[in-house]
């Protein structure tokens, strides 16, 4: 593979056309990925500003920075922006959009126009939501529980709901595009078991997107009408049942947490295998565990309703199933770990993020078990324990994987290398800052500090200490996240020019120039080997036998 380096052609997808119009009307999945990257980063910045405001307010037990009503809007908007406009599209719509066609050897997604449409829909939803936030904000919590959201809140629930409803369709369209593309557009020889795990993960994610998102769409629509027309399916005053709203909401929103984590798992599978130059341990198990998560993920939504007056027996079913869904995640964690065994592990920035993901996801996931267990959830539900649980997975897990993936494919996307030293340094800062921010919150939650609290009692001495630690951590985390923002932007101009395959990897996306041409490949590739094949399969070792490998064997 080293022998023939591909000469970068003069034109690539970035310089094939110029002008704003060439971007706004593009049908190239790579350019659309960049459009999404812009949108997603923008929303992340906004969401982060809200996060900083939350952390500052909670420094003291009294509410001395903001009014209660303002604080409520801040955490609501933080949650809404981060979930619907940052984390759900983050990996699939940027990295996924860029890489799904490249990794399977296709020229584009199956429906390029729909792909562009999905970006416009996303931005339209985003702008409507931003408008709602500027006009007066929304204060229902990101979960929109009725009847507060329908009858009692005086904020811009309707507008925000419309924004989220619209954005939901962009998610549906992306999922639809991925599914059809993966089914029908694989390059010759690209069998299902030769698909990189990133693709399996995105396939599973897309399943959730198309099966779950419509349900939240109709739920939000009903909610909007209820607010508009004052009669409703969820309104107890009209004989409706507010718990039905929760069922319908979580039917989507629990699977949605797997929309947020599955693509990250796909990224991490790539990072772990490629940066230890090994085929992934138990490929089929990792691949099918993604599907298992997608399917089982739909069976557990009731674990958000354990104390919501759901029947005790339904609670038991949902608790049982929640424990079952932990197993596919466990399989992944163990297989990643086993992949490292006898690998050739590099300490490049993406790998640091990948390793960080495994650790933090494990903590986040294991603390999910406290919540899936009925007895402990009764105590921990709606406390900071939950806040810590999901930030460990969503920030410690997905955000880290996203950053890792961004660094990993940065040379392919931009044609430039990022500064490695800064990369490693900021990865470390993020890791430390993150843990300092969110580990105190586990304790806070166990102590009984409820979430969505603007003020907390002064006589609980340790609470303030823990909050101060958390805020300190958030500042460190903020610095850690600001550094990549700066140097990635810097590298666009000043970074070292990237080769076509800077990491020397076998994946299809590396067998084409960086940045790739508009058609992705100079000619349609024919696939003849397994993914992650660094060495010929004849040399394969069966675990358990411990012969040393000779230096000769270890040569490239």
């Amino acid at each position: 593979m080293e022998e023939f380096t591909i000469q970068p052609p003069r034109t690539n997808y970035l310089n094939a056309e110029y002008g704003v119009k060439s971007w706004l009307l593009t049908k190239d999945h790579k350019r659309i990925a960049l459009l999404y990257l812009g949108g997603v980063s923008f929303f992340f910045l906004i969401g982060s500003l809200y996060a900083m405001a939350i952390r500052l307010e909670l420094l003291t037990p009294q509410g001395d920075l903001t009014q209660s009503s303002t604080y409520n809007k801040i955490f609501t908007q933080h949650g809404i922006i981060m979930v619907f406009f940052f984390l759900i599209p983050a990996i699939p719509a940027t990295l996924g959009n860029f890489l799904v066609p490249m990794m399977i050897g296709a020229k584009d997604l199956a429906f390029p126009r729909i792909n562009l449409l999905s970006w416009y829909i996303y931005m339209a939803g985003g702008i409507i939501t931003i408008y709602a936030l500027l006009a007066g904000g929304v204060d229902t919590g990101w979960t929109f529980y009725t009847p507060y959201s329908t009858t009692f809140s005086n904020s811009y629930v309707l507008t925000t709901g419309v924004g989220i409803f619209i954005t939901g369709f962009s998610s549906i369209l992306t999922g639809l595009n991925f599914i059809v593309t993966i089914h029908t557009m694989r390059a010759p020889g690209m069998t299902w078991y030769r698909l990189p795990l990133f693709i399996w993960a995105h396939y599973a994610t897309s399943l959730i997107m198309i099966l779950g998102t419509p349900v939240v769409a109709i739920t939000i629509l009903l909610l909007a009408f209820e607010r508009l027309a004052h009669i409703g399916i969820f309104d107890p005053a009209a004989g409706g049942d507010p718990v039905l709203f929760q069922h319908l909401f979580w039917f989507y929103s629990h699977p949605a947490v797997y929309i947020m984590v599955l693509p990250a798992m796909g990224v991490v599978s790539e990072l772990i295998a490629n940066f230890s130059r090994k085929n992934i341990f138990g490929y089929k198990f990792v691949a099918f565990s993604s599907l298992a998560i997608a399917v089982f993920g739909f069976l557990v939504w009731g674990h958000h309703l354990f104390v919501a007056s759901q029947s005790v027996y339904a609670g038991m079913i949902f608790s049982f199933l929640s424990f079952a869904v932990a197993i596919p995640s466990a399989i992944k964690v163990f297989n990643w770990t086993a992949t490292l065994y006898k690998g050739s592990i590099s300490y490049d920035t993406p790998m640091l993020y990948g390793l960080g993901f495994i650790g933090l996801f494990t903590i986040g996931g294991m603390t999910g078990l406290f919540l899936a267990s009925l007895a402990t959830d009764v105590h921990l539900s709606d406390t900071y324990f939950i806040v810590a649980h999901f930030h460990y997975i969503m920030v410690g897990g997905t955000l880290l994987a996203y950053l890792g993936g961004l660094h990993y494919w940065w040379p392919k996307i931009s044609g430039r290398m990022y500064p490695e030293g800064w990369g490693r340094f900021s990865a470390l800062v993020v890791f430390i800052g993150f843990n300092l921010t969110f580990s105190p919150q586990f304790v806070l939650g166990y102590m009984g500090m409820p979430r969505r609290y603007h003020t907390y009692p002064v006589d609980m001495v340790s609470w303030q200490v823990l909050h101060v630690l958390s805020t300190a951590g958030a500042s460190i985390l903020g610095v850690g996240l600001l550094i990549p923002l700066i140097y990635l932007a810097w590298s666009l101009r000043y970074g070292r020019i990237a080769e076509s395959n800077p990491w020397h990897l076998p994946g299809l996306e590396w067998q084409t120039p960086s940045p790739p041409p508009t058609e992705n490949f100079l000619e349609t590739p024919i696939v003849t080997s397994e993914p992650y094949e660094f060495a010929p399969p004849e040399t394969k070792e069966v675990v358990g036998k411990f012969e040393r490998q000779t230096p000769a064997e270890a040569q490239w």
């Binding site: 399943l207 099966l211 009731g302 027996y313």
Partner: protein, 97 residues
């Protein structure tokens, strides 16, 4: 997946079945059957009608496994949504509050 052409006489047959089904369901609706049987019958007839539309008008009978799988998964997920939600509602009264 090469294309299969369904001929008009099949379509006419299905069309007649659908009309008959509509008549039947209206007739059945006015008779009082014991217990939940009215609802059961209405739903059964509707399901049969829908199945004919899917199989013939929508050509699924002649389509590849993938399309069958897609439809089956839609049914499966719908069933999940119903079954687990109803599991809550139907067992609420089992324990006094």
């Amino acid at each position: 997946m090469s294309e299969h052409i369904v001929y008009p006489r099949v379509y006419v047959g299905i069309f007649l079945i659908l009309l008959a089904g509509t008549g039947l369901t209206v007739l059945a609706a006015f008779r009082d059957f014991p217990g939940p049987l009215n609802a059961v019958m209405a739903l059964t007839i509707a399901t049969i009608k829908a199945t004919f539309v899917v199989l013939y008008f929508m050509h699924v009978r002649y389509s590849g496994r993938l399309v069958w799988l897609v439809i089956a998964s839609a049914m499966f997920w719908l069933a999940i949504m119903f079954a687990l939600t109803i599991s809550d509602y139907s067992s609420r009264g089992w324990l006094p509050i």
